[in-house]
């Protein structure tokens, strides 16, 4: 399963295939008491006494110290969570919060070189034989200034620009612009210095592309926010990937804790999530040690490479490594997203968890929603809704199928092709496109599966019983994603769809039939 590709239900809920509601960010109702059932992590956010205490100075200091302790514990497992105390401090800045948040974001971006892949630009300059003619430092600084000036102008004037029909769909425009520039950069007319300049621009733009898409969508709203507030959450300081965790400022401000009580509950939820993440990270570490060190099970990528080398592991080893890979992947995603959302909550944003009980999913669509929430949201916001609102409006089932396919296949593929655009610079455009064939097949099968799952849920009868209603659907979901993973690992452009298909046949014991 690709990192970027992929929501306790009653019988009635599952019958409609809807993700169960996610009460993990709601405020306790007045007079509510914590549930009496034993919990691994106490429901401190539902305890009125705890919530009241955290609103006072000693309570705030306690939250701060708890964040430091959790950061130290996670650091012990190799996970950097030292942003947590800064997030707590940021939350207490009240009317200055957005300024401090933006400054923290920009400071961390500065420390990480604004996430620009300078190495790729250097390689292109060397390939073009112009490395001596270009000052990489000057190019990097100039391109950052150009790109951020461009972002600022777009955000300031977007409410006027968006009135022009050709600019009504910012995401489409950004994708066309980005891929168009890649085409130009790889064409013979751009040989030499222009190619280096174009790749420098693309590499500077790339980390912020989807943040800009969310910002432009938000900048078109009736309530206009200053451009620097949009820029202040381009890779917010609590963490992100190319997928914006928390979308843009227009979305974030709806999740902003607006009262001391909301802030207290949000931060207590952040501490709970960080503690839960620590437990999951410990489980992942223990699982890795047990499976790979103690039992000596190879990684899934190893089993595939051994098969190709003609020294295939026995079938049961390959299946065991495939299942172990699935467990590790789900645990990793929970830990990875958990630290980011915990930090965002400590900063005062009531964001939904990124990964939420994925193994309870009984449909493919539900798993996709529970596994990587913010990536699914990105595809829904930028690919699903635009298709759903425009096409096949009089054909209900076709409409849902087409929109789901647009998101899970087309959007998914475009996202990953852009994310891995360095392959184009390194391998050439044609080789990079051909190398994406296996991932294209992966997204196609995923999209068909999720789309059919979406369409079936509306008509499916309620299955009764734990076995047929719960266990078998869960096993089907896990099995589907395990098998599909064969076409998505290792994440490279070197292995063909045919090689991966042969390995799948080997796994199924049918490779000798052909």
């Amino acid at each position: 399963m690709s990192v970027d590709s992929h929501v306790v239900e009653s019988g009635r809920t599952r019958a409609y295939g809807l993700p169960a509601s996610r009460p993990d960010i709601s405020l306790p109702s007045p007079g509510s008491k914590p549930k009496s059932a034993w919990r691994l992590i106490p429901a401190i956010d539902q305890h009125p006494g705890c919530v009241a205490y955290v609103q006072r100075l000693p309570g705030r200091l306690l939250v701060f110290w708890a964040a430091i302790v959790l950061a130290a514990l996670l650091n012990w497992l190799g996970i950097n969570f030292f942003i947590a105390p800064l997030a707590v401090a940021c939350a207490y800045m009240e009317q200055h919060r957005r300024i401090v948040m933006s400054l923290a974001t920009w400071l961390l971006l500065y420390q990480s070189g604004f996430l620009v892949d300078v190495g790729l630009v250097e390689r292109v300059a060397a390939q073009e034989g112009v490395a001596n003619q270009i000052s990489q430092g000057l190019l990097y600084t100039g391109m950052l200034a150009l790109v951020f000036s461009l972002f600022s102008c777009l955000l300031i004037f977007w409410h006027r620009i968006v009135a022009i029909p050709a600019f009504r769909r910012p995401t489409l425009g950004l994708i066309v612009l980005f891929l168009g520039l890649v085409l130009v950069a790889e064409s013979p007319v751009a040989a030499g210095v222009p190619r280096v300049l174009l790749w420098s621009f693309l590499m500077t733009l790339l980390p912020y592309l989807w943040f800009l898409a969310y910002a432009l969508a938000g900048a078109g709203n009736r309530e206009r926010l200053p451009f620097w507030q949009h820029l202040g959450v381009f890779h917010p300081f609590w963490g992100s990937t190319l997928t914006p965790f928390g979308k843009g400022i227009a979305y974030l401000q709806k999740f902003d804790a607006k009262t001391p009580e909301e802030l207290a509950v949000t931060q207590l939820k952040g501490l709970k999530l960080a503690a839960w993440t620590f437990l999951l990270a410990s489980s992942l570490s223990g699982f890795n040690s047990l499976i790979h060190r103690y039992l000596g099970l190879p990684s899934f990528d190893d089993t595939f490479l051994h098969y190709l080398a003609g020294t295939a592991y026995p079938h049961y080893i390959c299946w065991a490594s495939l299942l172990a890979n699935f467990v590790e992947d789900v645990l990793y995603m929970s830990v990875f997203g958990g630290t980011i959302i915990a930090a965002a909550r400590l900063a005062g944003f009531r964001l939904l968890r990124n990964t939420w009980r994925p193994l309870e999913a009984t449909t493919l669509a539900e798993f996709w929603n529970r596994y990587y929430f913010y990536y699914k949201e990105l595809l829904v916001d930028h690919f699903f809704y635009p298709a759903f609102l425009r096409y096949f409006r009089n054909h209900r089932r076709l409409r849902i199928f087409f929109a789901t396919f647009s998101a899970a296949c087309v959007g998914n593929l475009i996202f990953h092709f852009i994310r891995d655009i360095h392959f184009v610079a390194d391998m050439g455009l044609w080789n990079a496109v051909v190398g994406a064939q296996s991932h294209a097949f992966y997204t196609f099968v995923l999209a068909i599966g999720v789309a059919l799952s979406q369409m079936r849920v509306g008509t499916r009868k309620v299955s009764k019983g734990w076995l047929r209603g719960r266990l078998l659907p869960c096993l089907w979901v896990v099995g589907f994603f395990c098998v599909l993973h064969v076409f998505d690992a290792p994440l490279d452009r070197e292995h063909s769809i045919w090689q991966r298909g042969q390995f799948l046949l080997y796994l199924l014991g049918t490779d000798t039939w052909i």
Binding site: P19, A20, S21, I25, N221, N369, L389, R390, I400
Partner: protein, 87 residues
């Protein structure tokens, strides 16, 4: 739009949303200004069903408006959206 029609829309949408929330095991009370999506009670995928219901029942064309999910984020927001559609 007169008061009676607005009240009728609110009532219909409130019943519909409550029905959907109950399907999800959420029996908590629902006020007209309670947030549906940004509170996590409904998911972006639930919006599909709400959009199709509004299109069918009120003849709205969502492709003609600047849609974002916050325009469906409460009973009041949904009623306003329907109220403001060109007749």
């Amino acid at each position: 739009m007169d008061m009676t029609v607005d009240t009728k829309i609110r009532s219909q949408m409130r019943n519909y949303v409550i029905q959907r929330l109950r399907m999800k095991g959420d029996g908590a009370p629902l006020g007209d200004d309670d947030l549906l999506f940004t509170s996590g009670r409904l998911d972006s995928l639930d919006a599909i069903e709400i959009i199709m219901t509004i299109e069918t029942d009120y003849g709205m064309n969502f492709s003609e408006i600047d849609f974002d999910l916050t325009r469906l984020d409460s009973i009041t927001a949904i009623a306003d959206l329907i109220d403001r559609q060109p007749s």
